[in-house]
Symmetry: C2
Subunit: 462 residues, 2 copies
């Protein structure tokens, strides 16, 4: 089942168009530009060829199997078309159109009809009111936003489920900045059929996915969802950003994805019990997804901090040891031998108490020697390492140094600044060391890593 969606042999774009103002144009173009390697069947009775591809008058007219149909027609026509998908035994249909349950009574009726059409058949629907799916490993991209307006992420390890299409696209554009990738993106939209539970199962089964991030405005099938998310989270960490914490926000969601109110307090309680990581904005969502995908959770919460900028160490300590949404952590303390050894590699008035401040004199080499002490120390569970290329003796070799340390102990890195820092963040990303452009984002990632680790330890024997 996963196969037909994540790695379809063939895709049909219904409503494909050579008119750049049409959605059917953008979808087809994105599919081609993303490098999708399977067969593409544009469907449009008014054309015989689009973008060099043979065009068919109907789904029925396509001579071979279709794994995924992307329907880019208006709401009512899309539902009519769905009957043809069922008839042709197409396993997955993406319905892009809005104007369903989010848009009043008439739309609700239409959405009910949609559900009835596929009931008991082998056809599953993504949407309606969706931008569809993106799977970088196979080049599947049904997004309707023209490719010259945004970037799509590369291959990665984070599975992304979003109730909102636009938010999903914007966030994916954002993370391309440091070349962060995803294993896949599913915009469930109005989730008339495939909802959060099914999507979770898909990413659970996907071998490329190491963590799953979800943007939700509400939960459709509470009981089933809670059972599933708890189960999946034990194997692959699940991070959820859910709106609806206030009455105003619940109301806003209703007119957006037709979502119904849910009690946020109940939701929060169950999430806590299930050990789900919560994010409170879209940046945290992907930050946490990355941290939990790239690093295993630490065995405890004693953190060592290493930096070449004193203030950064102090601020890190402040955020690490002050409680917030994700609790507080402990500053690891070093024994005399460790302290003595680290002293060898720093200037007399640099600090080797935690946070370790090599000062601007700190070199990549000294950094490596100290990391080595930290990796061997029994009192260090995890390491926050700032890779600051602005200090003159720090160079890009620090990425390899950190990668080596990360093979023994969980490492989260920070790099603050513009040009050189951005290069550094890109290199750290490529080495799959979770790295962030601010102190609080670096600390936040470490906090959720520790939190998830603690949950797993507590429920080891459940």
């Amino acid at each position: 089942m996963l196969e037909h969606l994540f790695n379809p042999e063939s895709i049909s774009v219904v409503g494909a168009s050579s008119d750049p103002r049409k959605i059917g144009h953008a979808v087809l173009e994105n599919l081609v530009l993303q490098g999708y390697g399977g067969r593409i069947y544009p469907v449009n009775p008014a054309s015989s060829e689009i973008m060099g591809l043979k065009c068919y008058p109907s789904l029925e007219a396509i001579p071979s199997r279709v794994d995924l149909a992307v329907i880019t027609l208006p709401a009512k026509q899309s539902v009519d078309l769905l009957e043809q998908c069922v008839k042709k035994k197409i396993p997955y249909a993406v319905i892009v159109a809005g104007g369903f349950s989010e848009a009043g009574e008439e739309g609700r009726v239409l959405e009910t009809r949609l559900r009835e059409i596929i009931k008991g058949t082998g056809t599953r629907v993504i949407g309606p009111n969706t931008v569809g799916v993106l799977f970088p490993y196979t080049g599947v991209n049904t997004a309707l936003t023209p490719h010259d307006r945004l970037f799509f992420p590369e291959k990665g390890e984070v599975g992304f489920i979003s109730q909102s299409g636009a938010l999903g696209l914007l966030v994916m554009d954002s993370i391309t900045e440091y070349r962060m990738g995803i294993s896949g993106f599913i915009n469930i939209g109005n989730r008339a059929d495939i909802a959060e539970t099914d999507s979770l199962r898909l990413f659970e089964a996907d071998p490329n996915t190491k963590s799953i991030v979800m943007y939700l405005e509400s939960v459709s099938d509470g009981e089933q969802f809670f059972k599933t998310v708890k189960e999946v989270n034990r194997k692959k960490p699940v991070i959820i950003l859910k709106t609806g914490r206030s009455l105003e926000s619940t109301r806003a969601a209703a007119s957006h994805t037709g979502a119904m109110a849910s009690n946020d307090r109940v939701f929060s309680g169950i999430m806590r019990q299930a050990g789900i990581t919560r994010a409170y904005d879209e940046t945290e969502l992907l930050d946490f997804g990355k941290a939990l995908a790239y690093q295993r959770p630490p065995p405890g919460k004693r953190v060592a901090v290493i930096t070449t900028a004193g203030g950064v160490g102090v601020l890190t300590t402040d955020l690490l040891t002050s409680p917030d949404n994700h609790g507080r952590l402990e500053m690891a303390s070093f024994n005399d031998e460790e302290t003595r050894e680290m002293r060898k590699f720093v200037l007399p008035f640099a600090s080797v108490a935690n946070p370790i401040d090599l000062t601007a004199d700190g070199s990549t080499e000294a950094y490596g020697k100290i990391l080595d002490v930290l990796v061997r120390s029994d009192s260090v569970d995890a390491i926050i390492a700032y890779a600051l290329p602005q200090t003159p003796k720090i160079n890009m070799d620090i990425v390899g140094t950190l990668k080596l340390a990360a093979s023994s102990k969980p490492v989260v890195a920070g790099a603050i600044g513009n040009r050189l820092s951005k290069v550094m963040l890109g290199e750290l990303e490529a080495a799959r060391i979770p790295a962030f452009p601010s102190v609080s984002r670096t600390v936040g990632a470490m906090k959720v890593l520790c939190e998830y680790g603690e949950y797993l330890r507590r429920h080891r024997n459940d």
Copy 2:
């Protein structure tokens, strides 16, 4: 007094060097590259010329007045040199060296001697343990980090006071990304003489400064500081990021800038009373500084939200109406006439309830028409506007549209994504509309604007 520091007629770099590994090289080079227009006097008894500038054997040997001396020598020599500064009646000396009160008993003695040397004289000291100052309007830049390692901000309206030099430099490098500028930067370091209170007064008097941001690890002269910050904050908003919220963080600060512990709960209470905006990380610090510098505070806390991406509107509503460090705000509600008028400019199933979601069909023109309704509405105190260039009908003209709206009502903007969004953020910055690359940063900026406005209203007659 301000004049000699912010706009010195002449600067001497003591310990200037042609050896790129020396601090005296980087300082001199930064000064030259920053385009400082006054006279520069390198001092080094071993050279007759450095970087094409005539070099003097001593401060005494310089034939004319010196407004600012940057001393790049080791700790003890720097203190000796300070006597010559006093003798030559130099108004300001920056002492770069570390190894003073942050480094144990010997250093503390040295710092006491430093204080005694300038006592009752016309010479004021910045530092020791400092990277000095940066004033983009006059090209004064005493930073010791080589210019090829980081960018320095352009001319702007935010005054930046930092106890930490490295953190200050990294943050300044960061904000150059979207071309945010500053009015000046003072790294008070160990603040043996000029401390947070004096620095506040300097930026209070500086006509380019519209808001003041401070990174502090502790407060030196509590009573005087609290009195001053309260006074200054009424004229120019002051934003403070202060570490030391935990014991661990206080301890870390002690070995960094020799700062002594202060009771954070007391500090927080006084700050609240004085209406000071608190930031909890370095990103917030500059975000809030920018928001309060570019926009006047709204007359109330009823916020209208406008977007072309539904999920962004929902998440914004969630963050706006959920309480956090900066309280919660209200979603403005529109009357029938306003709603009717806005309806004209959107598709049938777009939402014109707050948040207003134009959907991906929203054009810059429709956006402008709706902003016009919001600007005229009696029930809107401020506007959060997402400028999302990924939606096909939004173009860069939206910046002018937002600028027009911002001339009537406070506007905070958000733009999420990579390439096009970054261009958008740069344009918004140039138009002095506070703009941010995430939902929570956008909402956070609006919250502190409203919070500051409320403080001013409450204490209007104090």
